[in-house]
Symmetry: C2
Subunit: 363 residues, 2 copies
DNA sequence: CTGAAAGCGCTTACAG
DNA sequence: CTGAAAGCGCTTACAG
């Protein structure tokens, strides 16, 4: 706008008295360039404020320096889930360093999601990150159909397609050929933290412990619920006090209402995320229950609020930023042709706070 | 991967027995194409599963079909602020329809932010959206330097550069020329909602009302604080009960602690966002205060939790999704060459819930 | 209504 | 160590 038009590699080459190829090579370092000419080139580029056009590079190299991420959740849940922004921030930190960008899409329906991936495959991104694995997830198959490199964030080995869970992340096997690799996975197990949470409550003296799950179409929600049930059984306790939530505050409130009306009342509730737990905690309090004396509660996500409620909400730190960074790194490695079949990251860890205590004998 | 290589426009042209130009024109509609050939072309394209390469179009048309958004906040605050995800979802809904993508960046420092914009200008995006206006914001100047079309979301006319607030969004004037237009602004005023909130509290009988602000480098935080003070003065009340928060739960808690220790204690607190209000509410309750009898509280954002706490948290709906959609639409119009100097959107509106009530005489 | 050709701004074999 | 040329896959004047 201010200065006429943007400089091109041709302008730089002319000013430095070299060919366009040499300018290109001086920057990419894909072939040696004498120190003298390199200097002249860099100076010329600086004078002209030149930087290579990404569009031109994209066409010439058939790589976009962009990776794609689609969030397929209701705006309501997205806005409430601290995982996404932290995960994205983690991705960004490694992508930025690699000079890559992140193309983000938010969709409501599965149809829209498929459409987006098709557009992505149209030379828009070099690869994608797959979050929120669902049972029977079709995205892995779609990615293969589109030839779109992808990395999957999975909450359990089963979700990673490592054993048969009806999930389609197994490589194609054809007769005499070697089995092709299923695409790369970052594994952040959810189960251990839930077990720890249950143990903590049991040790504190709780026997009637309930669980408010997330939407069970998500493998991570199922995984948390299964872990809850397994842990209860291990302790010889009744694992059937499970109600289905959907990660929203509304469901946290209504499911808690339901649980508090049971006879006998549970003395502790394990929620599948913080938002539901906070709504539940607030409700219990408004009912006059003392926290944690009459009701202990735990969340999942370790949202900013958890630590600063009074009492603090015991929760599970998912280290979403680290997970995001690792996932991005894994995708970059994949794009670079390095085979990374599976990367384990430290699982989420429990953070105990005031919302957990021994059950009182009052009730 | 599965099928050899992606089809190109050449393949489609050959199969349809026409020139590449005709294929291009059949899709763009920039010139009439006979119905018969159009049919043949579409069929050929379908057979070959062809869609135009975005990289090639980007180079040929010098437009990337991508807009950029950079979030420059600490991961902590981002993860807690429901505005961003909703705003982004709103943008997406109009961008997707227009076949455009959203390139998202998250940065920590101002340096990184500048670097990102420079990369953006390198043929990565067609324009950008500017959020979180700060006093003395340098981005408008930077955008002009880079020749990057932009639209600014402003919480007040002053922040939009509509009057002198030390903000650099005025057009260049040179001698005899017409004053060039400052770049487009979407205006969503914050002040009216805060005034409404104060009025509501005053009508309920409150006299000692406090405010916990956001970080004052943000114009929207300053705007909310100023509106609070102005409203208090209008009602003939002492406007000096203002403490500085930073939008985090931690600050919500500590500032509330401070306010509750004052003598006399405020009977109501207006927080600059929901997270601080929720932390404050929780603290007040743990101190044994009855809500709203002994303390009324209000938030800002209308986060998912607000409606489902017990009592519900009175808040301000920012309609972030609509604002996002409008902002995106404004940017698209700008890119299309339509001049849209300023677009007003419905300001945020108050939602009264149980956290507001008449002050009791108990204390 | 349609085609042949040039051009967008890079990168990369191919020669030297 | 360097240059001339072809190519990436589109779009868009220019002719007809």
């Amino acid at each position: 706008m201010s200065s006429s038009r943007r400089a091109t590699i041709g302008d730089v080459a002319r000013r430095a008295g070299v060919s366009k190829a040499t300018v290109s090579l001086a920057y990419s370092g894909k072939r040696p360039v004498s120190e003298a000419t390199r200097q002249r080139i860099f100076e010329a580029a600086e004078d002209l404020e030149w930087t290579a056009s990404e569009s031109a590079r994209a066409l010439a190299m058939s790589r976009t320096a962009t990776i794609g991420l689609v969030l397929a959740r209701s705006p309501e849940v997205i806005s409430t889930d601290p995982f996404f922004p932290r995960f994205i921030a983690g991705c960004e930190s490694v992508l930025a360093e690699a000079g890559m960008g992140l193309l983000l899409s938010v969709v409501a329906t599965e149809e829209d999601e498929t459409a987006i991936y098709r557009r992505y495959a149209t030379g828009r991104v070099d690869g994608v990150i797959l979050l929120d694995v669902q049972t029977g997830d079709r995205r892995p198959a779609l990615m293969r159909e589109l030839g779109l490199p992808a990395v999957l964030l999975a909450p359990s080995p089963a979700a990673a397609g490592l054993d048969d869970a009806g999930f389609d992340n197994v490589g194609d096997k054809s007769e005499d050929e070697v089995e092709t690799t299923a695409f790369p996975v970052v594994l952040a197990e959810n189960a251990p933290a839930i077990r720890d949470l249950v143990s903590l409550l049991v040790e504190a003296g709780h026997r009637r412990i309930a669980h408010v799950s997330g939407p069970l179409r998500y493998v991570h929600a199922t995984e948390r619920r299964n872990a809850f049930e397994a842990a209860m059984l291990e302790h010889g306790l009744d694992p059937s006090l499970v109600v289905d939530g959907d990660f929203t505050a509304a469901s946290g409130r209504s499911r808690t209402l339901e649980l508090l009306d049971r006879e006998p009342r549970p003395t502790a509730i394990v929620y599948a995320n913080d938002v539901m737990a906070i709504a539940g905690l607030s409700l219990a309090r408004s009912r006059g229950l003392l926290i944690p004396e009459q009701l202990s509660l735990t969340g999942f996500d370790d949202s900013d609020l958890a630590a600063h409620l009074s009492p603090g909400l015991s929760s599970v730190s998912t280290r979403a930023d680290e997970v995001g960074a690792t996932t991005a790194r894994t995708l970059l490695a994949t794009l670079a042709g390095v085979a990374v079949p599976i990367t384990r990251v430290d699982g989420p860890t429990v953070i105990a706070r005031g919302s957990i205590g021994p059950p009182s004998d009052l009730d």
